[in-house]
Symmetry: none
Subunit: 193 residues, 4 copies
DNA sequence: GATGAATGAGACTTCATTCAT
DNA sequence: GATGAATGAAGTCTCATTCAT
């Protein structure tokens, strides 16, 4: 069936990138080989190489975003949920998740070539909604003070998560993941309490 | 003189990228034309297209980093200096500074192809030193409490700066630059005081 | 099939050289056109222009050497066989056989670039073997005296054959092929009887 | 003076070829460097690269031919003179004389591109004249019988000289230069006496 | 539907030649 | 007269795409 074959191609592209190739140097012949299909067959399901890459990016993002959301736990309290997110992000970053891997091989500029402005905005909207869900839970549990404007709350949550990722991906800062998670939690508390 | 011609080429590349082209789709003929020299002349000063791009990245980064450092003010107090940095970053991001522009058109993966691991680490080291300089000033002025570990201090400073950049570059969050700067300062104070 | 396409290319190269082009001035596009295939197709069967030329030389030599050997007749006596060789060489030289044509457009120096030292030595070894076969027949028939050392016999046979070729290819000496063949036979007899 | 500079260039070309480069791969920049002059200066004395190569070939040939003729000795008898020629040829071949070196790097085909048909014929005429001079001396001394036609005499002389060169340049035949010279003399005597 | 041989546009790079100094 | 920086025509080779099987 058509969607299966397409997925086969997505997985081929992902495997190549995970082997260290960068997206814009992939050849159609490589993709076909990595996907276990013939070169010509790619053109039965996609109209061009660019479409293959664009759709692979979208596929990967949705897959990863869904699994990311699935891992979220709102039932064991905000702190547990927050730390769970950090863990998931750390795993994604250190294990080179498909999405992370793909993203690291395209610049923002190229990304726009592949993914429409609209798709990007949609993604961003979903992320903001997720952030707000988390903040709502934190408020309910009284972890953070209610009087702060929502914009500031978002600012802080984004900040600690980004700082966490930065620490993880820059070993020169010489902090363990656990230590960074504690700092993230501490920073969040102090800035929002 | 040789360095002048090279600079001419760097500027040609930068102008192309600022016109919206992405680094890895540039043709040598375009670069030559944008630089106002003949195609063959490029090869008098660089041995390959890759060398042109690599050296342009290094040139741009060093130029920008120097000018960034030059704009720092340590003499009017920490808060003024901190806000100055935010302003500079905002200007760089919103005006598409050459470096920002170039960076947005290469993924991390490609970046490694062009810039050696060692050069990357060197850059990171310089940034950490800069962060520490700022934190030292904040400590001297009593803006932040001395008992916190330096790692945590860095974590927070990086976090607010990254969050600030994130707000600036994602207009969907609907915050003005000034507002975001206030949040950054507030977050810094609350998390480190 | 792969070997057929390669042969198609060999024939293309040969036809170009027979039209007066010299090997090292051939362009891939010309070769492709002369072979009746697309430029890119050449690179499906050969990895570079140099490989095309090298393999064409080897192909042509083997083909010609085989047909040369096939024309040899050991069954009608030494003189008939010897004159047959001269005839074959004369035809090859005057009709611009593929091999002769190719050889005339590469210097020894270039030849070594294309054909390995080992291949050259192998060829030479085969030629010596051929010479010895002829000399053995001459000895059996009593055309030449047995007491001469084999090295001298070879020396003479090579000498008359080379002189014959020299006469053929230098019309200034104003000898007909038939006359030259008679001289070759006479010289051989007198020097070896 | 003009001729001096030209000679400087000839010597530059010769030195390059003696270093193993082949004529048709030389770059003007290399020739200029090897000649110790600027690239542009070449074009003050020659109108093109082809002219440089053509004139170098002519220069080298004439120089070598003259020195070859100069070494000939007609005053110590034919055998001494004949053997002297063999020695000179052997030296030229084994020591890679400039001419020999240049010749080995152009095919006959290329040679025609560089040297006019007329020049070639002229050279051949001179060689025939030389051969005839030698044969005259041999006749005077009674080394060879007078009744043979001149064409046959030439045929034999050319044959032994070519066979000698062939032996020298093909070590696989495993004959020393001295042995080959004896065979050459022997062959000449037997075929012409 | 699946394939991969064939293709040619177009990329990078070289280098003979020019010309301002 | 001497130079070499600048040039662009032209070469080799790649690779996305097509299409006959």
């Amino acid at each position: 069936m058509s969607e299966e074959k397409k997925t086969q191609v997505y997985l081929g592209v992902i495997s190549l990138v995970q082997q260290g190739r960068s997206l814009n140097e992939l050849k159609v012949s490589e993709i076909a080989e990595a996907s276990g299909i013939g070169k010509g067959t790619c053109y039965e399901y996609f109209s061009s190489k660019e479409e293959i890459i664009r759709e692979t990016l979208l596929y990967t993002f949705h897959k990863e975003f869904d699994s990311f959301c699935g891992l979220l736990q709102f039932d064991q309290g905000f702190e547990a949920g927050f730390r769970q997110i950090l863990t998931v992000m750390e795993k994604a970053l250190s294990q080179f998740s498909p999405f992370q891997t793909l993203m690291s091989s395209v610049g923002k500029r190229e990304l726009k070539q592949y993914v429409s402005e609209e798709a990007m905005e949609n993604i961003m909207r979903q992320m903001i909604r997720l952030i707000d869900l988390l903040l709502d839970q934190a408020l309910q549990e009284g972890v953070i003070e209610p009087q702060r404007p929502r914009e500031y709350q978002r600012f802080v949550l984004i900040g600690v998560m980004q700082a966490y990722c930065f620490q993880i991906t820059n070993p020169q800062l010489q902090i363990s993941a656990a230590q960074a998670a504690d700092y993230a939690w501490q920073g969040l508390r102090e800035a929002l309490a």
